[in-house]
Amino acid sequence: MNTLLDEDEVMLKESAATLLGAESPASLVRSAEASDLKYSPELWRRVADLGWCGLCLPEEYDGQGAPLAWLGLLLEEVGRHIAPIPLATSSAVALTIARFGIGSQREILRSVASGESILSWAVQESGGAWNIDAVSMPGRVDGDDVVLDGTKLFVDGADAATHFLVAIRRQPDDAIGIALVDARAAGIASKRLVNMAKGDQATVSFRNVRIPRSQVIGGWSRGRDALTFLMQLAAVFSASLMAGAARRVTEMSAEYSNIRFAFGQPIGSFQSLQHMVADMLITVDAVELLSREALWRIDSGLPAEIEVAQAKSFGSQHCITVCRSAQQLHGGMGFMIEFDLNLWYRRVVSWSLCAGTAYEHRRIIASHLLDRPGHMRLDDCHPEAGDEQGRLEGHNETELEVVK
């Protein structure tokens, strides 16, 4: 048991912090917001060259084969600097393909690792629910093809994406599948939403989009598992981003409280503000610990459904509070568009509401705890999984087989 970062992990996180500190200033975030693309191709190229895009992808597809928790550390820094790059989205999709893809389906990972391909997911529909049961978009089987027809909402990086991973239901039997679709294919149209993060989020419609059935990742039989995995990664990556962003506003608050004076002393010497900022730090640490544990478990082949839901529900609920406290401490400046704090606040709001709300994820937790048999302990809430140590010990071998 060691929740702390080891030397390699510290080095990775610090180098990411240094890079983004230099190359993702608030001015870059603002210019990306104002641009058509909504992200920075230059920064994307830069991090791709550093290997970020393929950090956890298999080495045979030009990735680095690093542990998933390492990507979480990078995403914490991406969130801390609100770097305008689609790393979380593209990585979640690529890692799903890496785990569930069969045969040539994984070939695309080379271009993901190089940064050429940018992947995005398309899961939610008009009801907005983050829930597999709410997926209803049909995929009609027609010979060797599948024909997609429907509309997806809240698709992140919609314009930047070269491919979408689309959640569909096979007609007529309603089996779940996730289909990789070229974003420029005939019949696809996107319409950008104006979200609080002012990012590249859109409604994407699919009209008689015909793809070969070999594009259904992992085949229909593993569709539900693959979509579950994708949604777990999307949720926990969002928690990593929120943890990083909330940490930055906490740091900004502590700094500001030392230079802003009132009644003859720095406002940071007032105990009411010290206690508020202390609560911010405690909360940020909590989100970080929850998301790191969830990623570590996924990577170790352990059940992580409840851990992911814990991280995202807690992050969604509390990171907004952290940002609001930062605004409170900054007074009127927190409400000014020219003051940078709002850049973080607006993104945290968007992240907290997408990829599942606190309520949606708590529903997963409650179901896990109350609807299945077995005695629950906080340190062992997977009685159905049996001997975790056995799974941990056997894990490395099975993973290698999958990779081969």
Binding site: L281, L289, S367, L369
Partner: protein, 413 residues
């Protein structure tokens, strides 16, 4: 990062769990149900504890030459947690023994540590006085050196274990001219010395008595009076005037560690497992969407307690270079315990106010008694307000507020 125990540690955990499953019987359980602070209090629990000692599980992380096994802190944590779950305390971190290990003379270590690990001696913590809680500047209990003795006069309060402890880990002022932390010393005082009077103070858990496992379920604490008590100089721990430093050194797990973790989270598990049970009330409550949502929220907060405890364990295992993390845990855990207990009260409705022994009490009234005791965890061993001061200053570099004198000099008051 490695969010699991090692194979050896997990094997130990299973061994302890198996031992408990095979050996814990109703006789032992019955005695432990009324064991104050988890100390065996009858023939069955004492025999059970002796077997635990024989297995080498008590004081497992202490050096072999002082009665331990030279094990890891993780091993100690595992053993402590499993036995605390059945209401029995095993020596681990705390104010007494770790400080003796860190600051004691060779003779003191050989005298006190093996005996403490066997359960033959036990320290009550004697810091707090009627006029001095977190701020040690107020300590008035005096020890005056006269030859080979200190003569102690004064009073301590909330000395919880004093009525059954063998010794008091006593903070005294040895230099009357000193202010604040300087001039304080630690004495290891046998409780049976002439001139010591222990008087009980009843808590709000006194009648009826709280069921086992209740957070701060103690039915009573004490005040202790010292009237010309002659304490041998050999009882001085560390240097004279170094009492504050002695109390700081050694692995103090009073604020963190297995006991605090379980104080903060035991009801989270109890709630979930009770809701899954057979009772008709539980069945109707567990299908209520509002309650399910609240249960998930409580559970997740409890997981944060666990992760913060594991973080502290990780820091301690790497040498104990805490910055603010222990203080953060001492804010989050106790306050979670209060929030969770209050929410559980709302979930149980009128059943949530029924105490031990009452008809219709849920789980012997443990949730109701927890409502009486949970907030004490926010108060004792450094209040959550003091802890937040430390998080802000150490964790975030926020400025200390000016002292009264500084403020006056700047014209602020």
């Amino acid at each position: 990062m490695y969010f699991a125990f090692t194979p050896e540690e997990l094997a130990l955990k299973r061994a302890v769990q198996d031992f408990i499953a095979q050996n814990l019987n109703d006789d032992i359980r019955g005695e432990l149900a009324t064991a104050e602070l988890g100390f065996p209090n009858g023939p069955h629990s004492r025999a059970f504890f002796a077997r635990v000692v024989d297995k080498g599980w008590a004081g497992i992380a202490y050096p072999r030459e002082y009665g331990g096994q030279g094990g890891t802190l993780a091993a100690q944590y595992i053993v402590e947690e499993e036995f605390l779950r059945i209401g029995m305390r095993i020596i681990g971190g705390g104010t007494g023994e770790p400080a003796i290990l860190a600051s004691g003379s060779e003779e003191q270590k050989r005298t006190y540590l093996p005996a403490a690990i066997r359960g033959d001696i036990f320290f009550a913590l004697g810091f707090t006085e009627p006029q001095s809680g977190a701020d040690l500047a107020g300590i008035r209990c005096r020890a005056v050196r006269e030859g080979d003795h200190f003569v102690v006069n004064g009073q301590k309060i909330f000395t919880t274990a004093a009525h059954f402890a063998t010794h008091i880990f006593l903070m005294v002022r040895t230099d009357p001219a000193s202010k604040r932390q300087a001039g304080l010393s630690i004495l290891l005082v046998p409780i049976d010395l002439p001139g010591i009077v222990v008087r009980p103070l009843m808590t709000i858990q006194n009648n009826p008595v709280a069921p086992p496992g209740t957070t701060y379920g103690d039915p009573k604490t004490n005040e202790v009076f010292f009237d010309d008590v002659k304490v041998p100089v050999s009882c001085l721990l560390g240097g004279e005037g170094d009492g504050w430093g002695v109390a700081q050194r050694g692995l103090n797990l009073d604020r963190i560690g297995a006991m605090r973790y379980l104080m903060s989270t035991a009801r989270d598990e109890d709630l979930v497992n009770w809701l899954k049970g057979e009772s008709g009330i539980a069945a109707s409550l567990r299908s209520d969407e509002r309650i399910r949502d609240k249960v998930a929220e409580i559970w997740t907060e409890g997981q944060v307690c666990r992760l913060m405890t594991m973080r502290s364990l990780s820091i301690a295992a790497e040498g104990g270079n805490f910055v603010y993390e222990g203080s953060a845990e001492k804010v989050w855990g106790p306050e979670h315990g209060v929030r969770a207990t209050e929410a559980i009260g709302q979930i149980l409705g009128p059943f949530g106010q029924l105490l031990n022994g009452s008809g219709h009490a849920v789980e012997s009234g443990v949730f109701a008694h927890n409502l009486l005791g949970a907030f004490q965890s926010c108060v004792n061993h450094g209040s959550v307000q003091i802890m937040r001061d430390q998080v802000a200053r150490r964790g975030l570099g926020m400025p200390r507020r000016p002292s009264v004198a500084e403020a006056a000099a700047k014209g602020l008051v």
